[in-house]
């Protein structure tokens, strides 16, 4: 059976915790793993699961996100039927509103729901790094006879549970309670912010909630209805991280990709990750280069020493330069003899000859286009 699903990606987040990386972009557009942006994972998951109509809800500083998504052709979403819809807040005869919350954002784009032939809606976030085959989720949803299925994950001690929504379920995996960002978490099962729901049910719920100022999808739409609706938890046990949780988390995710098992899962299982093409030549490592445990992207010329780092596209690391435990974004230049350790360099940063950029206790972040 082919399940007709409309994909919605919430990508309007400011991502304050990622400041200053989110000074110039929405958190969903944050560059990751050398050539991707965070949203590529959710978008690719949807396309790989057969979803060919995807709406991306943007609000905060969307330029780089829109530039990245373009017509959606890298994800095969430049289609006559379905395709990619960028859904921005707009001015209309009803007034001028920014999206006042996740439910409101979908409510304001009700036309997309009303018009389509899809029966279900999958709501994901542009900030999540994971690979999943959503068709397993559909099957689970039908088998449970659920009204709404939420994806959850047992989080280990490497996650700060107070930053997540903690879910309580009965023995049947029906959700009894969700505590949003609790000070003292009662469990370790966290809601991942991914919803699967019948489209017409979602429309009804939104019509009932949003005009009454219930603007948040989880707090105002799902939680008050936990008794009335059959809301089930689908447990995902693969790699899952949320870039928006903070600079440390963002750094950690990038370092995770240096592990073979993480690369295998994120890059090679459950379909490919698609991203915007850049037409750069393959990376070159010169005779003076020493590279160890690092990711190197197209367009790079490496002549210095690189260890435990993620190097994005078109980076130049000159002879004698040392880069360790760092994330170096696109177009940055590390000149001769410069040292970069425990740092995140945003795009097009220049570290001049002989200068040192070293994060001591905390990861040092250099803003886009800064020159040291």
């Amino acid at each position: 059976m082919r399940v007709k699903v409309l994909g919605l990606i919430l990508a309007g987040g400011r991502g304050e915790a990622l400041w200053p990386l989110t000074k110039v972009r929405a958190s969903a557009a944050i560059p990751i793993f050398g050539k991707y942006r965070a949203i590529d994972f959710t978008l690719s998951n949807m396309v790989n699961s057969g979803i060919y109509k995807v709406g991306v809800l943007t609000q905060y500083n969307p330029r780089s996100l829109m530039d990245h998504l373009g017509s959606g052709k890298e994800w095969d979403l430049d289609r006559k039927h379905g395709g990619l819809f960028i859904l921005q807040p707009y001015v209309s005869s009803q007034g001028e509103f920014w999206y006042r919350g996740t439910a409101d954002a979908i409510y304001q784009n009700m036309t997309l729901l009303r018009r389509g032939e899809e029966d279900f809606v999958l709501i994901g976030s542009g900030d999540h790094i994971y690979k999943i085959d959503f068709t397993d989720l559909y099957q689970y949803h039908f088998k449970k006879g659920a009204d709404v299925t939420l994806i959850v994950k047992k989080l280990d001690e490497s996650y700060d549970l107070t930053k997540y929504g903690i879910v309580s379920v009965n023995e049947n995996m029906r959700i009894l309670e969700i505590e949003e960002k609790p000070e003292k978490p009662k469990g370790d099962l966290a809601f991942l912010g991914i919803y699967f729901i019948n489209k017409y049910l979602l429309m009804d719920l939104l019509y009932a909630s949003v005009p009454q100022k219930g603007y948040d999808l989880l707090l105002d739409v799902i939680l008050p209805n936990l008794d009335r609706l059959k809301v089930y938890a689908y447990v995902f046990d693969g790699y899952w991280r949320n870039v928006k949780k903070g600079i440390d988390e963002y750094y950690r995710i990038n370092m995770d990709i240096l592990k073979q098992e993480v690369r295998r899962e994120l890059f090679y299982e459950k379909g490919k990750v698609f991203t915007k093409l850049k037409d750069l030549s393959p990376p070159k490592l010169t005779g003076t280069a020493t590279v160890s445990n690092s990711l190197i992207s197209d367009g790079c010329i490496i002549a210095g020493s690189v260890r435990n780092s993620v190097i994005f596209r078109n980076v130049r690391i000159k002879a004698g330069a040392i880069v360790e435990n760092s994330v170096i974004m696109q177009g940055s230049v590390i000149e001769e003899g410069a040292v970069v350790k425990n740092a995140i360099l945003d795009k097009e940063v220049v570290v001049r000859e002989g200068r040192e950029v070293i994060g001591e206790k905390e990861i040092l972040v250099l803003e886009k286009r800064s020159v040291v």
Partner: protein, 422 residues
Amino acid sequence: MRKVTAMILAGGQGTRLGVLTEKIAKPAVPFGGKYRLIDFTLSNCVNSGIYKIGVLTQYKPHVLTKHIGIGKPWDLDRKDGGVTILPPYVGNEESEWYKGTANAVYQNLEFIEENGADYVLILSGDHVYAMDYNDLLDFHILKGADGTIACMEVPLEEASRFGIMVTDLDGRIVEFQEKPEKPRSNLASLGIYIFNYDFLKKILEEDERNEKSSHDFGKDIIPRIVKETLGKLYAFKFEGYWKDVGTIKSYWESNLELTSPLPPLNLHDPNWKFFTHTEEMPPSYVSPTAEVMNSIISEGCEVYGKVENSVLFQGVIVEEGSHIVNSIVMTRTFIGRNSSLENAVVAENVIIGKNVRIGVGEDRKNKYDPKVYSGLITVIGMDSVIPDDVTIGKNCVIGVDVDPNDFESRTLESGGYIFHRR
């Protein structure tokens, strides 16, 4: 607006590339880590603002046709113009297989006519170079020429390998020598021509009626125009990098050149990008056990061994303890633990087992075809499997689709060959 249509000759087999072109046409041969040879000519066209392009295919066109597709990577998926694949076809009258480069263009004169071209650029799909064709066209128009040939000065001792132009002081070609023993000039034709459409049409129609002609631009068309002074042909001196990677040795050399700090062909020039169609792959990973020097390591590679002066194409895996020197390894090839490669060209989707040694031993002539397989380089064809513990010498060739059953012993001496028994 100058109306130019480019016709790219892409039907050649490239027999001197041996097993590398057994399954694919020469313009589809991979180059430089992520490209195929035709990418250079296609990219030169779009970078020069030429968006009306015909690609003449004939020999094993599948990979090439799929690679070009509707021309998306080159922005050639256009409403007006774009790229059109022109295979030989059966029509009402004399259409048939392309008998030569000139005949191929002749059979598609209608295509050029429909494009409304004033000028026709004739290009080869298998040369590696960066050229702004506007310079050629400006020169052509300035000289009031009927045809202009891009040429390059070559060392006089090598001139006998090329078509040589003898020009007057103005650059007009007064004599053409095809691979001359005693060259009178060192100006070699690059196989890049621009013609006024009306002139070209007339010449091609005449040539078609000439039963003695082999219908080839280099052998028939150009010599005849010069000899019989049918029109004004000029030589345009090109001073950049240009290479016809016609032999395995030159293919190997020009790939390895790219790994040097300042290669003659700059693939990193932001103002003259080379576009290609590639598979989506993650960035390359270099592990703590790896050692990489003077090499190109393309997307999707995972390197755990040692790589020196080599070009690894996309998705190549080099396991721990392996050592690759002066070699070209194409897309998705796997190299098992503790194997070593020296002076090797390994085609796509090859699996090399553990403890394999390639390129060792003395220098012996290849027994299968010494003209093709020489220069101490060992070549392994597409989709082959080399079993564990095998030793292969220098100047060897392993064909396409070779499987472990094709190996009669663990050792293949220098100059040896193995092909798949069907």
